[in-house]
C-alpha cells in the first residue's frame, strides 16, 4: 500500500530535517554572549509557563486564545499520534480514533485562524503568515482522511492511488510547514523558538505571577564587557532566542505610543529586524507595518555588523531606538513575553557610552547630571528651595525617621513643587514621622539609565545608596514613579534594598489606618491616568483609585487604563531626545482623557503632569493625587483650644 510505505518516510524525513534546522537555529542563537540559564529547570518549568503564564496573556483575546488552544493542542496531539500510527505503523483503532479527534480539532481551529486572516487587522503580518492557515487545513484534513482506514471507518485502500497521492501531497505540505518549517524559519518558528524562549527566559522571575522590570546592570568594572549592544552578537544568546520567538501578532505595535504618534518605531518590526540581524539578510521580506516614515527593504544586517550606522543605513536607524518611551506597553502585550525595552536600552547604551551619540538635548542632560546631579543643570544648592518655608525635617539632623520622603528632581520644577507641597501638607496632617535628604539627595539616575548612560546611572545610584546607608528609616515614599521604580527595583543590584512606596500607596495606607481626616471632593468629575512606571512597571493600579474613592471620587475610567494605560510620552528620556512624529503622544492621551468627559485628570507622576499640562487648552485640569487629597483635608480642630468668649453680665 503506497500510503503505508511513503508516509513513514515522509514523516521521518521531515523530522530529521527539523532536527537539522533546530541545530542550525540553535547555533545562530549561540552566537550571542553567554548568559546564565537554568538549562534543565527551565525546560521542566516550560510547560507550566506555556500553559499558565503565556496563556494568561493570550487569553486577553478570547477569540485567538480558543483558536490557538484548538489548533496548537490538536496539532501537538496529531503530530505525536501520526508518528506512532503512520510513522511506526501502530495501526491501533483507539489510536486511530484519537488521531481523528486531534486532526478534527486542529481543522476546526485552523478554520478560525483562516477566518481571522480573511480581513486581517493592520497589526498582523501578511506574507507567509497568510499561507499558514492553508497549511494547517491541508495537514489536518489530509491526515484525517488518511487515518480513516486505521480507525476502521473506511476500508484500507479506499480511493485508490489518486486519493493517496493527493493525501500525500497534503501531508507533505503540512509537514514541511509544521515540522521542519518550524526550525528553518517559517511562521511556525514561533512554536519552537517560543518554547525554548520560555524555558531559558532572561527574566525567569516573570513567570508564576512575578514581576521583573528593573533593567539589568552592566558590569563596568570589567573593561572587557561590551558597553551595550553594537552588533546582534552582543546580545546575550537568550535575548536572540527571545527575538526568534516573535509570532508577529502585532499586539505591541497596536499598543506602542510612538508608533501611534507616527514616530519611526514599531516594536514588532524592531524585533523582526533583530531576527534579520541574528540570521543575516535584509528586511525586504518583512510583511508587516513599517516604521512610520521608513521604507521597507533599505536596511540590512548580519550578526557581526553594527546594528546602527550613524552615517548611513544599517539594520536599524538610531532615531528608531530613541523614539521609545520605555512605557513597556509592548512587553505587557507580548504573548511571547519578549523584552523589547531591554533590547532598546541595550542598543542605546552602545550609542551613548561608546559613540557619544545621544540625540538632541541628551548630551546636555547627561552632562548636567554628571556636574549637578539634576538633569536641568540647576545649582545643587537650590534643591530644597521649594520648601524654604515648610521647615522640613532633615535626615542629617534627625538621623532616624519612619518615612524618608524622596523628593526627586521635581524639586526644581515649579509645577511639581505644588505637588510636593501638597504631599508635605498631607504627611504633616497625618502626623507622619518623616524627613528628607535635602541637599544630600541626587537624581535617582532614571533618565541617565534610559538614555543608555549606565555609567552615570551607576555613579548616581552608588552615591545615593551610600547616603541612604547613613540613616535609619523604615520606608521611602516618593511622589515620582520613576524614582520609586529605580529605588525599588534597580538599586538592589548595587546593594540598596529598601522598602519603597509610591505616595498614592502610602496615602492609601494612611487613609485605611484612619490617620487622615478627609472631606469629600467637590464637584468636578475625575478620570485617572495610570503612570507606566507605577502601573506596568510595579503593578500598582489599585491604591490611587482607592485614594480617589476615599475622597468621594468615582473615577471615570478611560478606554485604555490600568495595564493598558497609554503612555504620556514623558518616559525613557523621550522628551529629551524628542524624535519627531506626526502627532504628539500627550495630545493622543488627552483625547483619551477628553472622551471620558472628565473635568479633572488625576495623575501620580511629575512627568505625566508636565506632558499633559503641555497640551494646549481648553483641556481638563491636571491634578496630582496628593493635591486632590490635600484639598480634601479637614483641618483638625482638636489642636486648637476651645474659644472662650466674653459673656455679657446680666
Amino acid at each position: 500500500m503506497m500510503l503505508n510505505t511513503v508516509l513513514p518516510i515522509l514523516l521521518f524525513a521531515a523530522l530529521a530535517l527539523a532536527v537539522i534546522g533546530a541545530m542550525k537555529r540553535f547555533a545562530m542563537w549561540r552566537r550571542g554572549r553567554a548568559a546564565q540559564v537554568d538549562w534543565i529547570g527551565g525546560l521542566l518549568a516550560m510547560p507550566r509557563r506555556y500553559m499558565v503564564d503565556l496563556h494568561h496573556v493570550v487569553a486577553r483575546d478570547k477569540y485567538i486564545a480558543n483558536t490557538h488552544v484548538a489548533t496548537a493542542g490538536g496539532f501537538v496531539l496529531a503530530a505525536v499520534l501520526a508518528i506512532l500510527v503512520h510513522g511506526l505503523g501502530l495501526h491501533n483503532r483507539i489510536l486511530g480514533f484519537t488521531l481523528l479527534v486531534a486532526t478534527g480539532l486542529m481543522f476546526v481551529g485552523a478554520l478560525f485562524v483562516a477566518k481571522r486572516r480573511l480581513n486581517p487587522p493592520a497589526r498582523l503580518s501578511k506574507g507567509p503568515w497568510m499561507r499558514l492557515p492553508k497549511s494547517l487545513l491541508a495537514f489536518s484534513a489530509s491526515l484525517f482522511i488518511a487515518t480513516l482506514p486505521v480507525a476502521g471507518i473506511l476500508p484500507a485502500g479506499f480511493g485508490g492511488w489518486l486519493l493517496a497521492a493527493i493525501l500525500l501531497l497534503g501531508i507533505a505540505w503540512g509537514v514541511s510547514e509544521l515540522f521542519f518549517g518550524m526550525t528553518w524559519g517559517g511562521p511556525m518558528k514561533h512554536a519552537f523558538a517560543g518554547a525554548l524562549h520560555l524555558a531559558w527566559h532572561r527574566r525567569a522571575e516573570r513567570f508564576g505571577g512575578g514581576r521583573s522590570t528593573g533593567l539589568k546592570a552592566l558590569d563596568l568594572d570589567d573593561p572587557q564587557t561590551p558597553l551595550g549592544v553594537e552588533k546582534p552578537k552582543d546580545f546575550t544568546w537568550n535575548q536572540l532566542l527571545g527575538f526568534d520567538a516573535c509570532v508577529q501578532c502585532g499586539k505591541c505595535e497596536a499598543a506602542c505610543p510612538a508608533f501611534a504618534a507616527g514616530q519611526p518605531l514599531n516594536p514588532k518590526k524592531l524585533i523582526q529586524d533583530m531576527v534579520v540581524g541574528l540570521a543575516g539578510g535584509t528586511d525586504a521580506k518583512f510583511a508587516g507595518s513599517p516604521y512610520p516614515g521608513k521604507k521597507i527593504g533599505e536596511h540590512s544586517g548580519a550578526p557581526h555588523l553594527p546594528i546602527v550606522s550613524l552615517d548611513g543605513k544599517a539594520l536599524v536607524d538610531a532615531e528608531t531606538l530613541w523614539s521609545c518611551t520605555t512605557c513597556r506597553a509592548c512587553v505587557e502585550e507580548c504573548p511571547m513575553m519578549i523584552e523589547h525595552v531591554d533590547a532598546i536600552v541595550d542598543m542605546r547604551r552602545h550609542l551613548t557610552l561608546e559613540k557619544g551619540a545621544t540625540p538632541n538635548k541628551g548630551a546636555e542632560v547627561l552632562e548636567n547630571l554628571i556636574a549637578t546631579d539634576n538633569p536641568g543643570g540647576f545649582a545643587p544648592g537650590g534643591r530644597l528651595n521649594w520648601a524654604a518655608d515648610l521647615d522640613l525635617p532633615l535626615m542629617r539632623d534627625k538621623q532616624e525617621a519612619d518615612v524618608l520622603f524622596w523628593v526627586g528632581d521635581g524639586a526644581f520644577d515649579m509645577r511639581n513643587q505644588r505637588t510636593l507641597r501638597a504631599l508635605v501638607k498631607v504627611l504633616k496632617a497625618a502626623n507622619v514621622d518623616f524627613a528628607v535628604l535635602g541637599l544630600e539627595e541626587r537624581d535617582s539616575g532614571d533618565v541617565a539609565r534610559r538614555l543608555g548612560d549606565e555609567a552615570t546611572f551607576q555613579q548616581l545610584a552608588k552615591r545615593n545608596i551610600s547616603t541612604l546607608a547613613q540613616y535609619r528609616f523604615n520606608t521611602i515614599v516618593s511622589a515620582d514613579p520613576h524614582s520609586f521604580h529605580v529605588l525599588k527595583n534597580e538599586y538592589g543590584a548595587f546593594g540598596g534594598d529598601y522598602s519603597v512606596l509610591h505616595h498614592s500607596t502610602y496615602i492609601d495606607q494612611l487613609i485605611s489606618s484612619g490617620k487622615l481626616n478627609l472631606s469629600q471632593h467637590q464637584g468636578a468629575s475625575v478620570t485617572y491616568h495610570d503612570p507606566c512606571y507605577l502601573g506596568r512597571y510595579n503593578g500598582e493600579y489599585e491604591a490611587p483609585r482607592s485614594v480617589l474613592k476615599a475622597i468621594g471620587i468615582e473615577v471615570k475610567e478611560m478606554q485604555r487604563s490600568g495595564f493598558r494605560s497609554r503612555c504620556c510620552g514623558g518616559g525613557g528620556g523621550a522628551p529629551i531626545t524628542d524624535i519627531p512624529g506626526k502627532q504628539r503622544i500627550p495630545d493622543m492621551r488627552m483625547v483619551d482623557i477628553k472622551e471620558t468627559g472628565a473635568e479633572i485628570v488625576a495623575v501620580g507622576c511629575p512627568q505625566c503632569t508636565a506632558m499633559l499640562e503641555g497640551v494646549v487648552e481648553p483641556r481638563p485640569q491636571i491634578k496630582d493625587i496628593a493635591e486632590l487629597v490635600a484639598e480634601a483635608l479637614v483641618e483638625t480642630t482638636a489642636t486648637r483650644p476651645a474659644q472662650r468668649e466674653a459673656v455679657e453680665a446680666v
Partner: protein, 264 residues
C-alpha cells in the same frame, strides 16, 4: 560646513586643554571652550590631532576630552600653581605643530585669558582670536573665519603655523562618551617647572560682578527693538583710528576712559 577631510587630515593640530569648572556646581569638568577647540581640531585633523594639558594627570576631568574620541592625551606634569607658559612653549617648539587651538579663557585658576597671547609672543607666531571655522588650507596659508560680535564673521588669511583661540562661536563640542574616555590614554611627561610669580605674591579674592551700563531702551516699536538688538554697535561717539602712532592711540584711549568715568 565641515571642510572635506582630504585637505586637512595631514595637518598637525594641537589643542591645549585645561580643567574646567561647572558654572553652577563648580565641579571639575572638561572646559567648555577648550572642548570646542578639541572639536574644531577633530573636524580638521581627525584622530591624528594632539591634545595637550599642562598640569596634574590625575585629574579625572581630563577623561572628558578623551571621551570625545581621542586615543591619547599628553600631559606635561606641572604642580598646581606653576606658570605653564614655558612648559607649553618648550613642548610646542619641538612638536611640528602647524595650528595650535586653545579656549579663550580658563574656567579655573587665574583665567586671565592671556595664555594664547603670551604663547604666540614666545613662539613668534600669529594669533587669531575667536576662530569660528577653518575654511580651507592651501600652500601653508589658512583661510579662516573669525567671529566678531553679533554673529558677524571676518575672513582672514594666516600663514601657518599659527595659534587660534576659540570662543562660543566655534562649533559645540561633541558628547563625551564613557567608553573612549575609559580606554583613552593619559601619557605623562615631566616638564620644566616655572613658579608663577604673580600667584606667589598676589592674593585671590572673589570676583565682583562687573557693573553693567544701564540700558536705556528708546525703541518704541518691536521693529526698532529688533533693530537695536541686531544692528552693529554703532553709537555716534566711536572713532576708528588708523595709521596713528602708539602715543596718539594711547592718548585717544586715555581720553575715552576719562570721558566714560573709568579713570578719574
Amino acid at each position: 560646513m565641515q571642510p572635506s577631510p582630504m585637505d586637512t587630515t595631514a595637518l598637525n593640530v594641537v589643542a591645549l586643554v585645561s580643567i574646567g569648572a561647572h558654572p553652577t556646581s563648580g565641579r571639575p569638568r572638561r572646559a567648555e571652550q577648550d572642548a570646542r577647540a578639541v572639536e574644531l581640531g577633530l573636524r580638521l585633523a581627525g584622530e591624528a590631532m594632539q591634545v595637550v594639558h599642562a598640569g596634574d594627570a590625575r585629574q579625572e576631568a581630563l577623561r572628558g576630552y578623551l571621551g570625545m574620541g581621542i586615543k591619547q592625551l599628553h600631559v606635561l606634569e606641572q604642580p598646581a600653581q606653576a606658570d605653564v607658559l614655558h612648559a607649553l612653549s618648550d613642548y610646542l617648539l619641538d612638536s611640528d605643530a602647524q595650528l595650535i587651538l586653545t579656549g579663550s579663557q580658563a574656567e579655573t585658576g587665574e583665567g586671565s585669558g592671556m595664555l594664547p597671547y603670551l604663547l604666540a609672543e614666545q613662539l613668534g607666531w600669529p594669533i587669531v582670536v575667536g576662530l569660528a571655522e577653518v575654511e580651507r588650507i592651501d600652500h601653508g596659508i589658512a583661510h579662516v573665519l573669525q567671529a566678531l560680535p553679533r554673529g558677524q564673521r571676518r575672513r582672514l588669511q594666516v600663514q601657518m603655523p599659527f595659534i587660534a583661540s576659540v570662543d562660543n562661536a566655534a562649533p559645540l563640542a561633541r558628547q563625551s562618551a564613557f567608553g573612549p574616555a575609559r580606554r583613552g590614554e593619559l601619557t605623562v611627561t615631566a616638564a620644566n617647572v616655572c613658579p608663577d610669580q604673580l600667584f606667589k605674591e598676589g592674593q585671590l579674592q572673589p570676583a565682583r560682578p562687573r557693573p553693567k551700563r544701564l540700558k536705556v531702551i528708546k525703541a518704541k516699536t518691536g521693529a526698532e527693538r529688533m533693530k537695536a538688538a541686531t544692528a552693529k554697535a554703532s553709537g555716534g561717539g566711536g572713532q576708528v583710528l588708523k595709521d596713528c602712532s602708539p602715543t596718539e592711540g594711547a592718548e585717544a584711549i586715555f581720553k575715552l576712559l576719562m570721558d566714560e568715568g573709568v579713570l578719574r
